[in-house]
């Protein structure tokens, strides 16, 4: 069943368009991530689902019901704010119980739920502390507890982990995902961090300049980006996006005179290939000179200069090749993605060519 549905939603502030005609669905119990660079409209979209901002045009359906103009309180959604939005003068217990008290839930019920939720997020011993006496991670847990104690079917999260350090962020990522699956909450999660999106999402909605660039499961976005933007946004390091030039009836990497990488005849193209899909080969391949080697432990990111382009290669293990050494790069034709240089869209007709040497 569809828990949240946005139909052609647009939001403008005066003459600026924050969100442009977007539509997407979130299935019940699924984890949907709104991903995009800052200013792309993802937070505004979340706020429109919450009813904190009005939609300019379009419709918002929650649980199949029309909720376009409904007040936030009626939508049965919880929200975790980036700043946590904890009430500074109330202790953790009162913060968590705030909504239940506002809705006049029976005292006994409040107590039961509090015990359960505090246990779930690991706050049982900290309930008497005020937010200022809690660490960032603990505050995050209070915010989370406040969101789940309402037992709303939907939880919205606005960059909830961005104020935490890297280690804690990883921990919370795993915990939030586990909690979400355990409670079966439909979750819409806003982030600019593609790692969070890849690791947590059932469904990623990639946004750019207020519009949806691509949506689908993380693997689909990774393996089959529809646009240059999607290709360049997802993955660390992101996909190599290379300029290619026409030489005869084939395309070669700009600044080289071969070998050919794709057929010509489709206008100006951009060639994309993931760093981990490139092999540094002894045999035939495209020649280039080593520019840099970043050793990361499990693998090494090797920068190679090919013609006028820089290509990053993710090589397994440790590779410390001296800068300037000459290497050959090799890849399979099916790992190559071709995009239109002007529109940025994937060129479905164009074919890549095997590297001949």
């Amino acid at each position: 069943m569809v828990a949240i549905e946005l139909i052609r939603v647009t939001k403008t502030w005066g003459s600026t368009v924050a969100v442009r005609d977007i539509s997407f669905e979130a299935d019940e119990g699924s984890f949907v991530v709104l991903l995009g660079p800052s200013g792309c409209g993802k937070s505004t979209t979340l706020r429109m689902i919450a009813g904190l901002d009005d939609v300019t045009s379009g419709r918002v359906l929650i649980g199949g019901k029309e909720m376009t103009g409904a007040p936030s309180a009626e939508r049965r959604v919880s929200m975790v704010f980036q700043s946590y939005a904890l009430f500074p003068h109330l202790n953790a217990r009162e913060n968590i119980l705030f909504g239940l008290k506002a809705r006049k839930v029976a005292k006994a019920e409040q107590r039961d739920r509090l015990v359960r939720v505090a246990e779930m997020v690991g706050l049982a011993d900290l309930l008497d502390r005020k937010p200022a006496q809690l660490s960032g991670g603990q505050r995050q847990r209070v915010a989370l507890a406040r969101a789940i104690i309402a037992e709303n079917p939907i939880c919205l999260m606005d960059e909830p982990l961005s104020n935490l350090d890297a280690k804690l962020r990883h921990e919370m990522r795993v915990e939030i995902r586990a909690l979400q699956q355990r409670l079966g909450m439909t979750t819409v999660y806003v982030t600019h961090d593609q790692t969070e999106a890849m690791s947590m999402a059932d469904q990623v909605v990639l946004m750019r300049d207020g519009a949806i660039e691509q949506q689908g499961p993380p693997a689909a976005l990774y393996d089959f980006p529809e646009t240059v933007f999607a290709a360049g946004f997802i993955g660390t390091p992101p996909m190599n996006l290379l300029k290619v030039e026409e030489v005869g009836s084939a395309l070669v990497i700009a600044g080289t005179d071969g070998p050919a990488v794709a057929e010509a005849g489709y206008g100006n193209l951009v060639m994309g290939i993931r760093p981990e899909k490139i092999a540094i080969a002894d045999g035939p391949g495209i020649g280039g000179r080593i520019e840099s080697c970043d050793y990361l432990g499990a693998d090494t990111i090797v920068g190679v200069r090919v013609g006028s382009q820089s290509i990053l290669v993710r090589a397994h293990g440790r590779h410390l090749l001296p800068a300037g050494s000459y290497v050959h790069l090799h890849w399979q034709t099916y790992e190559v993605h071709l995009f239109d240089d002007e529109t940025g869209a994937r060129m479905t007709g164009a074919r890549s060519l095997p590297i001949a040497a």
């Binding site: 919450a50 936030s72 929200m79 939005a85 500074p88 003068h89 909504g99 506002a102 809705r103």
Partner: protein
């Protein structure tokens, strides 16, 4: 020992920097306070009869002075009448103008205008309101067929009139503090509360009001001080009359000092006024501080 010399030099340098401010503070604050206290223990001296030490005689006289008790009682009513209402009104106006509303700047300015006006001007405006027969209030009342009333001439209504005027003058001033405090509250708090199903009143009672408490303490202390300090309007409106019904402590001190020229007794009253204010202020801090959340 060059280190030591430098240390001494530094200290002297520091004291020299403090000196101008310290001199001003001592000359215009500390010395007068001490002098007042001293004067209250002497009789008023004249050219013929120099001041004599009388110990607590002035204080004894004060306790028997009916006018003193009258103005003290007036002042108590004046404080009770002005402080809670002007603070409540200020908070209400601040919450109101903090919202997105049309002509917000204009509304804010309107509320603040009474603060900008000098008290003397305000008193003159209100004198026109209160004047019997031709005053605004009586003219409106006449429209409803209600007879004329001498608002400022009647001992039963005069203090009330002064209180209303003072509230009108003060609430806008206090509003500015509340407005500043409200604007420093993160808007997510209200959004979070809205999502949790809290209504405006619930949010105000559980979140806004407690978070405004530091401001309230500040405003409260100012309001208490003002209730003993603001007497300008009396000069224009009533001169403390009729029959001392609108006289306040500070106004009485002024009369004693500059109409009756009894410096010693005026000093005595001043010491009492300062003592009362100090006790109230300390009490407020001690009692309220524990219950206030400071960020």
């Amino acid at each position: 020992m060059p280190d030591r010399t430098r240390l001494v030099g530094n200290a002297a340098y520091g004291w020299l920097l403090l000196l101008p401010a310290a001199v001003l503070l001592a000359a215009f604050t500390h010395y007068p306070a001490v002098a007042t206290l001293a004067q209250s223990l002497f009789t008023s001296g004249t050219a013929l009869r120099p001041a004599e030490f009388t110990g607590l005689d002035n204080y004894r006289f004060m306790l028997e002075d009916e006018v003193f008790w009258r103005v003290l009682e007036n002042n108590a009513w004046y404080a009770i009448g002005t402080i809670p209402i002007s603070i409540a009104l200020a908070m209400l106006m601040a919450v109101w103008v903090n919202r997105r509303l049309p002509l917000r700047a204009f509304v804010r300015m309107s509320y603040f205008t009474p603060t900008v006006l000098p008290m003397i001007a305000v008193a003159n405006i209100w004198l026109f309101f209160y004047t019997p027969e031709i005053g605004l209030i009586d003219q409106i009342a006449a429209g409803f067929g209600i007879g004329s009333h001498n608002w400022l001439g009647n001992p039963d209504t005069v203090l009330g009139c002064i209180i209303v005027l003072t509230i009108w003058k003060e609430a806008g001033f206090f509003m500015i503090f509340y407005l500043a405090a409200l604007q420093s509250l993160p808007p997510e708090l209200e959004e979070a509360a809205r999502l949790e199903g809290a209504g405006h009143w619930h949010f105000f009672r559980r979140v806004t009001f407690p978070l405004l408490m530091p401001t309230t303490l500040f405003v409260l202390i100012n309001a208490v001080i003002n209730s003993f300090k603001l007497v300008d309007q009396l000069f224009i409106l009533t001169k403390g009359g009729p029959d001392n019904a609108s006289a306040l402590l500070l106004y009485y001190i002024y009369e004693v000092a500059f109409s009756f020229f009894d410096q010693a007794y005026a000093s005595t009253l001043t010491v009492v006024l300062l003592a009362v204010l100090a006790i109230i202020a300390i009490g407020q801090f001690v009692i309220l501080d524990k219950r206030i959340h400071y960020r």
